[in-house]
């Protein structure tokens, strides 16, 4: 199933890139363009060949693990994708941790104390989390910290391996921004899903059996309520892989989304095609993991 999906995506993205107006040579030469210079660059980049040839040249490289080289910088695309993926993945994981720390306890609490004061506060907070756009929150956060505390996060990127503490300091603000908007929807989902489960007969049975409340909630209710939450979180992680461009830009974090966006603006086909294909693969894998996770959460689900 995976191979045909990815092949289809590779063809689609290749064609889409051809369809959008403007090309990389215009971007490289700008105002200095002459017909002679254009011809030289087209030849140099191999975009003077027929489309079918271009596609097969590219895809046959991909099969061998060679995603080609950037039109602009000449740098190999695949190692760059991997490096940036590690950054985006780290950011996604941190954002999830932030989101879960906020969302699960509050979501459960809000379901248990339905219509109480706490519930209302949580619901408003969740609504804010969902509706305040990430870029606005990020800009406000930066301005607030800069103007009130004179603080600006470190601008030089260092990886987790080089300096874990510094790396965390860089990543924590974007993680909070991304996490809080994720938390909003996860919180809402947790609340409604919990409410539904809490109404069911087996919870009454568990309570009647005399199980302590903690066990009732965590082992029985939350576990049963978590299928739609896991689905949601899975989708969100998929989105976080590439959909965090704006946040990455604001905090100058060299993630995968940033790479893709620059690639699109500069019509750097190998970058765009490679990144989209890679993201699609990751997305498919995450979906697979989510499906597998279902069977652990709810043993009644089996895949034959």
């Amino acid at each position: 199933m995976l191979i045909p999906i990815l092949l289809g995506i590779s063809i689609a993205i290749f064609l889409i890139m051809q369809l959008i107006p403007g090309d990389v040579v215009s971007g490289i030469l700008g105002i200095e363009e002459t017909p002679e210079l254009r011809a030289m660059w087209e030849k140099k980049l191999g975009i003077d060949k027929p489309l079918v040839t271009q596609y097969f040249n590219w895809i046959s490289g991909v099969v061998r693990g060679d995603f080609g080289e950037s039109f602009r910088t000449g740098a190999k695309v695949f190692p760059e994708i991997l490096w940036r993926f590690s950054i985006s993945a780290e950011l996604a994981i941190l954002a999830c941790i932030v989101a879960w720390i906020i969302a699960f306890p509050l979501g459960i609490l809000s379901a248990l104390k339905r219509n109480s004061f706490i519930d209302r506060i949580v619901r408003v907070a969740a609504l804010l989390g969902v509706s305040v756009p990430g870029f606005a929150f990020a800009t406000l956060l930066i301005l607030f910290l800069a103007l009130v505390f004179g603080y600006y996060p470190p601008i030089k990127y260092v990886s987790l391996m080089q300096n874990p503490l510094k790396n965390l300091e860089i990543m924590i603000l974007p993680a909070i921004v991304l996490g809080s908007s994720m938390a909003g929807s996860v919180m809402r989902m947790t609340r409604s899903s919990m409410l539904e489960v809490l109404r069911q007969d087996f919870i009454k049975a568990v309570r009647a059996k005399g199980a302590p409340e903690r066990i009732t909630i965590m082992r029985h209710a939350f576990r049963n309520a978590s299928i739609p939450i896991v689905t949601l979180v899975g989708m969100q992680i998929g989105i976080l892989m590439g959909g965090t461009v704006v946040i990455e830009q604001i905090f100058s974090i060299p993630g995968l989304g940033q790479y893709l966006l620059t690639g699109i603006f500069q019509r750097d086909f190998p970058i765009v095609q490679g990144t989209v294909l890679f993201m699609a693969t990751i997305y498919v894998i995450i979906n697979l993991l989510v499906d597998i996770l279902y069977t652990y959460i709810d043993p009644r689900i089996t895949y034959s």
């Binding site: 107006p21 403007g22 090309d23 363009e33 002459t34 910088t73 800009t139 004179g150 060299p254």
Partner: protein, 501 residues
């Protein structure tokens, strides 16, 4: 408790003070876009040029008054109109430590003129007129041109014609996109994509007095994040625009540098469009515009009224403030429209894109042209599409920002001669062509000025484009940054700059 706390704080301060005293001097520069490699011969992007200018040098330079001054060539002579002999400065070293000699100059120009490279300098505006380059001795090199070309000398100051180290090019596999092989005061260091580029001081640089041990360029695309980074001292200097002024003025630790630029914003008219073929319609458009209003609304007032040869071009510029077509006169414009037979007006599209100032200008122009019956449909295009439309001349009206360059040949011939490669209006006037050729064919400055002024005045009267503004460039820096003086020709010269807290 309080006493202990203050003691600890004092200790920390003392520590940090000694730490800064020993630390090498670093300039942190917040830029707005990711560079795309550092080969001076093939990369035109401004985000790259800022950094390349630290690494590469040219034979000559152009000073503030547009005079050609020595750089890597100490002197030069011109035995006849087609021949230039340059005597190179001795003791100039490449980043590899090898001395730069005549062979390297020859190699650099052969590299530029090699058709397989697709170098930006391989065109009539730059090195295209070079017939051959010969080495006379270790430090002398002779250029022979195919035809007389007066702008040649000032074109040599373009970074597209930088002198590069042959061995460095070969070692890097033919391109310098990710390495440095120049003679400039800084050497390329670490490049973290979409985050930062570091350049280190070149200890064997031929000029004394470079104080920064390194310059770190940080990509901070979001303008307000960039300004926050400056205000908190996280960076020392940022690329800015006039929209940041209000924030910058409030900050005590921010110095504002306002520089007259050689760029201008203009409304290009497509002369293939039936209505725009008529010079009266074009003049009516010029008369209909209230240029100061466009500047106030689209540039926050941070631009000056300008023609296509802006005031920053010094003696080459033509003052347009008194030009009759630059005085808004809607009645006269309506009359001209009536004479041309367009009493009832017509509809044109106006393509905008790339910059906010361009987009906003389009909207203001739309309002102003409505007064003379021209109905403008503003079309906002995505960047690459905008550039594409520019190149294929696919527009009725288009708001563009152009650079007038370091020689009037660029400002006039490149944009307005019949064969000029940026003549997107498809304007053609035999007298202008003749004047451009005459001006390129003589090295007498007064004579050249006369030719260009005549050409500029013809073009101003015939309005193949209607220019309105030359925006100021803005740079914001920490008040601790000293010895930095940006100019229109070079905004990134940090040779004499230093930080003093």
């Amino acid at each position: 408790m309080k006493r202990i706390l203050s003691l600890v704080l004092a200790l920390l301060m003392a520590l940090s003070l000694t730490a800064t005293a020993q630390e090498p001097m670093v300039l942190k520069y917040g830029t707005d876009a990711e560079p795309i490699g550092f080969d001076p011969h093939t990369v035109p992007a401004l985000a790259s040029t800022r950094i390349m200018l630290q690494m590469y040098e040219t034979l000559v330079d152009v000073d503030e008054n547009m005079n050609v001054v020595p750089l890597l060539a100490e002197t030069w002579e011109q035995p006849d109109d087609l021949t230039y002999i340059f005597h190179l400065r001795k003791g100039v070293k490449f980043h590899s430590g090898r001395e730069m000699k005549a062979e390297d100059v020859k190699y650099s120009f052969e590299r530029i003129l090699n058709p397989d490279l697709g170098a930006l300098g391989n065109s009539a505006s730059y090195a295209g007129y070079i017939e051959k380059v010969e080495v006379l001795d270790e430090y002398s090199v002779k250029f022979t041109l195919k035809q007389i070309n007066a702008p040649f000398l000032s074109a040599l100051a373009s970074s597209y014609l930088s002198i590069v180290d042959k061995e460095a090019v070969e070692a890097a596999g033919g391109n310098l996109l990710q390495s440095s092989g120049g003679t400039g005061p800084f050497v390329l260091g670490e490049w973290v994509p979409d985050n930062s580029v570091t350049v280190h001081r070149f200890e064997d640089y031929w000029q004394e007095g470079v104080k920064f041990e390194r310059i770190e360029f940080y990509v901070i695309t979001d303008p307000s994040a960039r300004m926050s980074a400056l205000r908190t001292g996280e960076v020392d200097l940022i690329v800015g625009d006039s929209a940041m002024l209000s924030l910058a003025e409030k900050a005590k630790n921010v110095e504002i540098y306002k520089v007259r630029s050689r760029n201008y914003t203009t409304l290009c008219l497509n002369l293939n469009k039936e209505e725009l073929k008529d010079v009266r319609v074009r003049q009516a458009i010029s008369l209909a515009l209230n240029r100061q209003e466009i500047i106030d609304l689209a540039f926050n007032g941070e631009a000056e009224i300008s023609g296509f040869a802006p005031a920053s071009m010094g003696h080459w510029a033509v003052d347009v403030l008194e030009h009759p077509l630059y005085q808004q006169d809607v009645e006269k414009a309506k009359e001209l429209m009536k004479e041309a037979g367009y009493e009832n007006g017509f509809t044109l599209t106006c393509t905008v894109g790339l910059l906010d100032s361009i987009r906003n200008s389009g909207t203001v122009i739309q309002q102003q042209l409505a007064a003379i019956g021209i109905n403008v449909d503003v079309q906002n295009k995505e960047n690459a599409q905008y550039v594409d439309d520019w190149k294929t001349h696919n527009f009725d009206l288009m708001v563009c920002q152009n650079g007038a360059g370091t020689d009037p040949n660029r400002a006039v011939a490149f944009f307005f001669s019949t064969t000029g490669s940026a003549n997107i209006a498809e304007y053609s006037n035999p007298r202008v062509d003749e004047l451009c050729e005459l001006a390129a064919g003589t090295t007498n400055v007064d004579q050249r000025r006369e030719y260009y002024h005549e050409a500029i005045n013809i073009i101003l009267d015939e309005c193949p484009n209607v220019t309105f503004a030359s925006p100021y460039d803005y740079i914001y820096a920490s008040t601790d940054l000293k010895g930095y003086a940006p100019t229109a020709s070079n905004m990134v010269n940090f040779r004499f700059a230093y930080i003093e807290k």
